[in-house]
Symmetry: C2
């Protein structure tokens, strides 16, 4: 049966978005703050209600939706073979002292969504961003590449030999938690000291600098020597992180997104590239970094890209119908 | 056409071995010191001569060999789409001050071997060890696993979602060069400071301890407090290295070989496992370490496993015919 419509959910700690699309492109998008209370089923049930609402907005019968793509904050676990979320941004029962108004330790996302949809593809938001960039963005058909978000946190989606990596529970790509330093003054939300995210994430740079990361980078670009030293050090650490992934996976291209890169990537790129190029030529020769082509839309397009039928892809590459999502 | 015979080469910086096998198992094996002079073709030509010699020893016509597996020291590059070796242990032209009697910068291994064999599979020696352990050893049919050698150096073979990773030039798995520390007193052969190999390889532990690594571990096991501190620190670093790979790839099982693990793995294993278990439970829960089941034969069986027809595998699993290689 031809897929008439596909739907997509983008589930984050702060908000959830739903989209519906036809062969011609996305038809509608709505978003809401993510529910934080009730039973652990509340999140996927909110997703189903949002899909109904976005279908109504688009004038599409919800029963005509044949496949669902879900880009979600991780990490994931498997419960009875199905993907469940155990994201610390959603599940209040995972950490002592959480300020979330629930005691969830996991969210049965796949189980609930499959009660309604037979075809459900769920991936980490960085993995779905990579699928989007490989389908429509900066690395179309590139077999050995990674998507990296440099934002509040740091995460990766990984592709080797033309195949997206998932791993035992779908958590491949958590290389933001690579241990890279013995420093004690960079602590990650996961508890690690000196992992990549602790060293460079917007949140942690901000904490150490005593100002928002964006402000720090602006001071650095304006020539303030102290801010510049901190920002250059962050670029160096980020470059070492990319080198670490390249040496592990023999990656050719890194596509970089996230708020830090969106705003400061032009300034950071030469510093990051230099750090990669400075070591082990047999592994790093020719490794390139590119900005994410889908920009702010990479999460939404990523969720759609998880569900899109292969025969829709060539037309979307031509017409770039996701661009109208920017105005929703 | 059914494969009557397969051949295999194990190419290292010190020696080269050739084997020939039938459906029933390996028939013969010979080895020689690797050639270090002449043209860059000398190495693959030595391989072809060794295959002829091992076929003669086994009474097999060399023309009846239909597939060749090659396990080789890396790293690799691609020249006109074909695998070439640029191993610093073989190519004297790669580093200033090399004591090798040649000026090779690469070795056209695939090009020369394909002049004679249509079916040639070339992989890094850690990748071929992983193929062997997945075919006949500790991780049969395990989709998310890695082989790790802890020896003079440190290297990995990686498998995610049931597929062995190669990367753009076949160099996936060089995670021995993961940057993990800012220390200045651990320098790797690649020039990195503070990468995993610099921190724990037998060569580097030996250099820092002023005695062979095996002696240091023996002192540690005998209770010498200074040696014990150094050995425990090495185990901790190695565990952090495995954690780094697990967090990047969502690995379930690490199979560990190499001379350090062969001799001291029983003593090291609990320390390494503890280091993995001490962080990020959503990613590390259930991650196990196992000793390589093929022991000292993993390199030879690995080279054969790259070429073995799938329909030979079940019988080899039953009869374990590689065990007679131990006596050659």
């Amino acid at each position: 049966m031809d897929a008439e419509y596909i739907a997509a959910l983008d589930i984050g700690g702060t908000k959830m978005a739903a989209m519906v699309a036809s062969r011609e492109g996305p038809l509608a998008r709505i978003s809401q703050p993510s529910i934080k209370s009730g039973s652990p089923r509340s999140i996927p049930e909110q997703g189903l209600a949002l899909i109904d609402a976005v279908c109504a907005k688009a004038g599409v019968p919800a029963s005509a939706v044949h496949a669902l793509g879900v880009a979600s904050a991780g990490p994931f676990i498997r419960e009875a073979g199905q993907v469940a979320l155990c994201s610390p941004n959603l599940c209040g029962g995972l950490a002592q002292g959480s300020d979330l108004p629930n005691d969830w330790t996991s969210i049965p996302i796949e189980q609930v969504l499959r009660e309604r949809f037979a075809e459900v593809a769920i991936d980490n938001d960085c993995v779905s961003a990579l699928v989007a960039e490989r389908s429509f963005g900066a690395v179309i058909d590139e077999p050995d590449c990674a998507y990296v978000t440099w934002s509040t946190g740091v995460g990766f989606g990984l592709c080797v030999d033309g195949r997206i990596l998932r791993g035992k529970n779908g958590n491949a790509g958590h290389a933001g938690h690579l241990l890279m330093s013995e420093t004690d003054d960079a602590v990650c939300g996961c508890g690690n000291r000196g992992d990549l995210e602790a060293l460079v994430s917007g949140r942690n740079i901000g904490n150490r600098a005593g100002m928002p990361a964006s402000e720090l980078f602006n001071h650095a670009k304006a020539g303030d020597p102290q801010a510049r030293a901190v920002a250059e050090r962050a670029a160096q650490w980020f470059g070492r992180g990319l080198y670490n992934v390249a040496t592990t996976l023999d990656t050719r291209v890194f596509v970089i997104g996230g708020s830090v890169w969106l705003h400061h990537g032009d300034w950071l790129a030469p510093l990051v590239q230099k750090e990669i190029d400075s070591r082990f030529p047999a592994l790093t020769s020719g490794v390139r970094i590119l900005p994410a082509a889908l920009g702010r839309l990479v999460a939404d397009v990523g969720a759609l890209a998880l569900a899109i039928p292969g025969d829709w892809v060539p037309a979307w590459r031509q017409t770039r119908p996701w661009e109208k999502l920017a105005s929703t």
